[in-house]
Each structure stands twice: as C-alpha cells, then as structure tokens.
Amino acid sequence: MAERTDTKEQAEFREYCRRWLAENRPAPPSFRLPISAIEVMTDDQFRYLHDWQKKCHGAGLVGTDYPKEYGGHGHKGLQSIAIQEMGRAGVPYMLNIIGLNMAAPTILVHGTEEQKRRYLPPLLSSDEIWCQGFSEPGAGSDLAGVQTSAVRDGDNWIINGHKVWTSLAHFASWMILLSRTSSDDKYKGLTYFVVPISGTDGVTVRPLIKITGETGFNEVLFEDLVVPDKMRLDEVGKGWNVAMTTLTYERGAAEGAGSGGGISIDERVRQLVRLAKATRRPGGKTAWDDAVLRDHVMQLAIRAEGFRQTSRRARVESLCEQPLRLPLQQKVLTSELMQDIAATALEIEGAWASLYLGDHRAPDGGQWPLAYLNSYGFTIAAGSNEIQRNILGERVLGMAKSK
C-alpha cells in the first residue's frame, strides 16, 4: 500500500522494498545483536550485519540515490523510502553507519572524482567500514579545538595525535579525520583527510568500555602516520567547512546514503505501551491503569507523532519560519525522546528495572535499562545537546554567541 505522500515512482519503489524485505529478511542470529551498529563487538555480529548490508545494497536499498558510477543505484528521492520500509519491517540495522551517514555524503560533496570512485562503492556495500576522527580528549563539543596535527612532507602528510569516542574503529578500514594544519587560526587551520586505519603503521586502536559494559568505541592514536596528499578532502584550510557538511548529516539535518533497519521511535512507543499494559504495579493493577504513568506514556506518544510531523513539515518551505529551524532540531528531539522513553519504561518496571542484560527474569530481556544507559551516548555525541541548543539559539534565533 502506498503512503499518502508518495509520488507514483516512490509508491512503486515502496512496494518493491516491502516485497523484497518480506522475502529476504535474515533469520534471527543465535547470538544477541546490540542496540545499534556502534556497539558491535564480536566477529559473529560483524559478519551477520556485514552480509545483511551487502545484500540490501545489492537489492538497491542502500546508496539508492547515489550515482551508479559510485556504487549507487542512480535514483532520486527513493532512499528515504527504503529507510522507512526497513524500519517498518524491523529488519537488522545497517553495519556501516558512520560510513553511510557521514563519510559518504561528505565524500560525495567534497571529494574528487577519483576519491568518489575509489571510496564510495565498498563503503555502500559494507566491504570497507568507516569511522570518524573528530573528537579528542581535549576537544569534544568544542570541535574546532582539535590538535591532531597534519604536517606536509612533500607529496605526503605526517599525522600525529589522539582521537577518542571513535565508534567502529576496531573494524574500520578508513577514517574521516579532522586535523590541524596551522595554529594561526582556530577554524582556518583545519584540514580534512580520509586516512587508512586497519593494518597501518602509525595507527593504534584501543577499545574504550562504555557505561553499559559494552565496547564498540575506541581511542585511536596516530604516531607519524604517513598519508599521501591525494587522501586530502577538499582544500588545505577548508577542514571546518567540510566538517560542517559531515555534522549536518550526523545531526540528521540531511539524509545520508541510507541507514535503515533497527528500531524506530514509533516502534519504541508501541513497545512502551505494550510494556505498560503487561506490567503489574504494586497493588495489582497494571501500569496502564495508573493514570500518571499512562499520561507519561501519552506525552511520549505525542512527542513521537510531533517528531514525525515536524520531519514532514521541514520539507514544506511555506510552513517553516526559518530554513534551518526544523532540520537543526532533529538530533536534540530524537536523542531526548529515546532517552525519555527508556526512562519511562524503567518507571513502569519499578524494581524489575534493576535486572540487566543476562538476567533470565529481566522484563524484555533487560533491554530498557540498557537502552536508558545507552541513550546518553546520543545526547552527548555529535555535539552535546547543550551545544545543539547554542547552535539553535545563535543560528536560528540570532542570539549572541556563547563562549
């Protein structure tokens, strides 16, 4: 069935996606899959998700709107359909999430023809995994403070420095890297590279353990890594501009090469309603019978629908006050909504919320305490939500820049 907003082409493609996903949904793995790609730890998990993304790419559900010569499928306006349908089908998520969401669109916008032909096809098929080298121990939300240096040496660059919170680095072949090429100017002294990660002299990847007990992100140390100049993205000193492109995609203000699958916000709300109806509270009634808890759940349901409609409205120019106003809200809205949904689930579970992954009595397999703890990753990552509020206040509402 077509969505009410579809063009004819979109409706046909949606129908194709539904059919294909129904016929090709992978068998559930014998091991646990983490909440998202950035917690992938084991080779089993990796292989399972790699094969799934490759299959989806082959079927045209990944890189759908990318040109064929770059490994895409040469359509326009169909990627979002594939993402929606993968979410609706509840199939596994895409493995190469940093590559699809951030590296691919950045390379597409700023890369040379040679770079696009070299990097994009294996990225889209998940044969080469990408990670992102932005954050540093001394520069988190103050992104322009990065100190990792790139010093010119003939046709090469010599890179030294220390990146942190680098999701998927342990599986990555490549990193998009923001580095300092001059200390004269905080912003104009930055240059952007793509650099090799796996099996490379001068690169050390060390796992960092999250508060959830999971790994998946890392610190990456560069000691005299030699990178040829042809791996530079855009001009020397233009790194900040390029990084802004990456962030626009990372924060959801634009759509990358496709990263469907996993659990959507709408599905999370449905799970929450099911949990509330199934959970007995002290006194014997269900959580759903408790007017206060039910009201909390409905507040979240309204926020979820509001988010959906705001995404829709953001595409209708005449219903937007300022051009960036709605797109820049996306990251704050989704991260806080997911966090609040998980927090409400814990309220509903009460003492049962103490049971974590691995406890056989844990409601819903202990996924809610995990989801709650994990949700802080998203209110901090990609520029903390405090930084996002500064950006909204300054760029949309024109208030004075906070230092």
Partner: protein
C-alpha cells in the same frame, strides 16, 4: 482520498494566510492592541462589568476580507477553503492576539457544517454574510457532552422552549446568535438562538484574558421555531463529534500563533537587553530555555497542520491528531508563557510590558475545549 505531503497547503492557502498576516500587522500593531485591551488596568479588573475589547471596524474589515466565510460551502455563500487555510488564518489572529469573535464564529461554523440541515445552512449563510456566532454547548460540568448540558428543550406544538444556562460561552457579547445544546425528551438538540431573542440574557464572566469575553448565557422560556433547530434529536451528538477535531485544531492554531509572538518577542528581548556587559541571550541560562520554547512550539505547530490536513483529507485519523495537537499546544502555551515572563525579568511582571496580554490569552486557550491531561486520557483509550 490521499493526504497530501505538503499538508494540503497550496498557493491559495498561502495567499489567504499572508493576507491575514499583513492585515493584522498593518491594522493591529501592539500599541493599537494596548489601547483596545490594556490601556487601563482599573477598568479591566475593577469595573462592575468587564468592558468588551473589540474594534468593530477592524472586525468588519476582516469580515469584508472574507474571514468568516473561509470554511463555509460555496452554496451557503462561503469560499469553502480547507481547514489548513482556516488554521493558518487563526494562527495569525493568535499571533496578533486579535480581540474578535473569529475563533468562536469559526468553531460554531464547524458545528453547523456538520449538521447538514436547512436550518444549519441558513445559519451558515448568515455567518458568511458577516454575522458572528458562538457555541453555547457547555454546562456547569464544563464539557460539551450533550448529557452534561444544563439547558432543557421542552417540545411544544411548533418547536421547542429552552430553559437553563450555558456556561463558558466564548465572545458571547460579540455574537449575533448562539448555537445552543439542549436536552429534549427525544435526546439532545442544537438550536440557533439570536443573542437578542426574548428570554435570552448574557451574564459576562470576569476573565483574566483581556482579548476575549466570556459569559453565561441564560435562557428563560426562549422560543425556538422548527426552522431554527439546526440539529434535531439524535443528530446533535453526531454533529458535535464530527466538528470536534476541527475545533481542537483551530484552538491549537490560535495557541501556536500566540506562541510564535511569545517566542519572537522573548528572543528579541534576549538579543537587545544587556546585563553584565552582555546581551542576556549570550547566557546559556537564557538561551537554552528560549530554544526549548521553540522546540515545544514547533512540535505543536506540526501537529496542528497534520490535524488540519487529516480533517481535510483523512477524517478517520483527524480526532487522534487533533487531540495530540491540542494537548501539545496547551503544554506549549503553559511553558512559553512562563518563560516569556521570567526571561523578561522584572519588566515582564508589569502591566506596562506587552507580554501579559499574550500570557493571559494563552492561559485561556490552554483550557478551552479540553486541557492537555484530558485529551491525553481520551487518546489513551484508543491505544
């Protein structure tokens, strides 16, 4: 019918909205509004009868622009625009805090449109011709469930006799007629009653909102001829239920417009007011709550357009979205109002500052046709 991706908001709708926006900017700047509603704090709070703030010429001009006939079918003298157009005009009216019977007339219009009787068509034609109307459908229980109506309709040879009181009637002193909900032996009916009909008296409430009036409408032996029964027994409930999504959407649209004024005005203050050598918007303790105002407001606005579009194109989903829109808008109204006073500091707490005019309008709208908690409870029943 498919719900369009642009919320059904096309060039016609945009033209109507832009015209409304220009008209109100030109004719109702804040200083003009102040002379209408807030020129004198004594008369607003101490005179025995609260004055009606209403620039009748401005209203006649709005009517001449066709605002009251926007949603009325062409056969009844209107231009039959979709609800998204009405919502966007109401949004502009909210932004200007337009003291007028626009919202109450449009709400009555939505009920009359749902009746589909000859009497209802006649009433619609009158509204299209410029008559203001209001719903008198609420009893002491403050709901508009017809079972809660405190007005009774006694059947006589030709029509009914109405007795009782309708409460919380919006802009009652600006309305030419009321659509009254009354209980008859055969079930609830809706009747069109002229404001100056024998037996009708209007007891104004003293309300905080300076931009509206509200009253109890008393009916003592009021005769209703059959051609003024706009919904006979058993059809009244249906008509009210059918109109509810539109009404909730329109009230929420008014809130969103007023909210946009609150957001822009508070932002402007944060950009210009200096303390500790900085414009106060420099401080994150000020900047972040203003951004939160915008986030809450935009959620409600998106839901308003979605609800209006659903009324126009996908009625089966309209009530759910309209309740969501009203709940989100009511919550946003509370938050935006609180922050708009607080972030203006001491001046925000004064009569002299314009902020309170919108705060009071929002406070009134927050509870109009059901507060947020109420609508969330009703929504939960459908989950």
């Amino acid at each position: 019918m498919a719900q369009p991706k642009n919320f059904g908001f096309g060039p016609d709708e945009q033209m109507v909205r832009d015209q409304a926006s220009r008209f109100l900017k030109d004719n109702l700047p804040v200083d003009r509004l102040r002379t209408l509603v807030a020129h004198d704090h004594h008369s607003a709070y101490e005179s025995p009868v609260q004055p009606v703030a209403w620039d009748q010429k401005l209203w006649r001009d709005a009517v001449a622009l066709g605002w009251t006939g926007l949603g009325i079918p062409e056969d009844d003298g209107g231009v039959a625009l979709p609800l998204v157009a009405l919502a966007s005009v109401v949004e502009e009216a909210g932004r200007a805090a337009f003291p007028s019977p626009l919202l109450s007339t449009l709400c009555a219009t939505e009920v009359l449109k749902a009746c589909e009787t000859a009497a209802a068509h006649a009433a619609l034609a009158e509204i299209a011709g410029g008559a203001a109307a209001s719903l008198a459908t609420t009893g002491e229980a403050a709901s508009w469930e017809t079972a809660d109506a405190d007005v009774t309709a006694t059947s006589i040879d030709h029509g009914f006799v109405l007795d009782g009181v309708a409460h919380f009637v919006q802009d009652a002193r600006k309305a030419a007629f009321f659509v009254v909900s009354a209980q008859s032996k055969g079930g609830a009916i809706l009747a069109r009653v002229a404001a100056d009909a024998p037996g009708v008296s209007v007891d104004p409430d003293r309300i905080a909102d300076l931009t509206r009036d509200q009253a109890s409408v008393r009916l003592q032996g009021v005769d209703v001829k059959p051609d003024h029964v706009v919904a006979p027994a058993k059809l009244a409930d249906e008509a009210l239920a059918k109109a509810l999504p539109s009404i909730l959407t329109l009230v929420a649209a008014d809130i969103c417009g007023a909210g946009e004024w609150q957001l822009q005005t508070t932002t402007e203050y944060a950009r210009t007011r200096k303390q500790f050598d900085h414009a106060i918007g420099f401080f994150q303790a000020v900047k972040h709550p203003i951004v939160n105002m915008m986030l809450d407001l935009d959620r409600a606005r998106s839901l308003v357009y979605a609800a209006a579009c659903a009324v126009d194109h996908e009625p089966a989903d309209a009530l759910r979205l309209a309740r969501m829109a009203k709940a989100a808008a009511s919550d946003a109204a509370k938050f935006l109002s609180g922050r708009s006073i607080q972030l203006h500091g001491g001046i925000g707490f004064t009569w002299e500052c314009d902020v309170h005019i919108w705060v009071k309008r929002q406070q009134h709208s927050q509870f109009l046709w059901g507060d947020a908690t109420w609508h969330r409870a009703r929504l939960a029943e459908a989950y």
